[in-house]
Subunit: 144 residues, 2 copies
Amino acid sequence: MNDLKLENQLCFPLYAASKELIKKYKPVLDKFDLTYTQYLVMLVLWEDNSINVKTLGERLMLDSGTLTPLLKKMESKGYVKREVNDKDERNLVISLTEVGKNLKGKCSSVPKEVGKCLNLNENEAIILYSLLYKVIGNIKDTSM
Amino acid sequence: MNDLKLENQLCFPLYAASKELIKKYKPVLDKFDLTYTQYLVMLVLWEDNSINVKTLGERLMLDSGTLTPLLKKMESKGYVKREVNDKDERNLVISLTEVGKNLKGKCSSVPKEVGKCLNLNENEAIILYSLLYKVIGNIKDTSM
DNA sequence: AAAAATTAAATTGTGTACAATTTAATTATA
DNA sequence: TATAATTAAATTGTACACAATTTAATTTTT
């Protein structure tokens, strides 16, 4: 009956926890001249080395409206290259520069450094992780 | 050892789930000319009727830089009033207009309507809820 | 092959989100 | 009680985030 109470919403703690955690990244990532979203792009590139904007957007659930200006900034910082695909000129291929590659080693402690402020035990982390991916999957499958 | 893989981050599904869920609110809240954040303000006001910006910010974990322009928009829509507190003129008191109060009834189905796309059972929802508030609490307690 | 449809980025416009600073009011202190 | 310190909003500047549209390239259809 009290569906409209803030404390009865699942959306709010999800939204708040996400924001608070992202804030925790700021002082850590500032050292590397990265914002949180830019860091996510780096995570993908450290795995894949090269990816087009569309695929990157699918991985990060972000669209070109967000990624285009962000990738231009990252290019101007010297972390990534932006090159049109010769085979299909609609595709823009993003890849790491040497500086971008070298940043991986320097960032190796970021996950642990930020992760510890979550203060969850292994089991809790796994449960939370599973439920979040379940939610993401369920939302994607909902036609509504 | 693969701490820097996107799929090994807890932050990413948290960030993605939050965004995806907020997107689900859009078509539902559009009918009431509310954005997601504006809806959160309404949830607080439907409980409290009257609150100053600072307290509202504490409830929603938002600062005046976010709330000031947002509340001005909500005032111009006719949903809230903004009045300086006579006792302490540094305080701006936000309260509901009649239109804002009446909106509560119309929004009563919003939580269920959006909630069903999460597709979690009662137990899962409770666990997720608890873990999220635990994370929020832990992050707040971390000095780092 | 030319026209239509599709696709991928970019662009435009609106709305947060937040750090840092400023302004104005109140409280505490010398 | 003047001055200093504190407090609450507002302001400024930067950075997403996304819906909707546009542009340009490619593919499909006729």
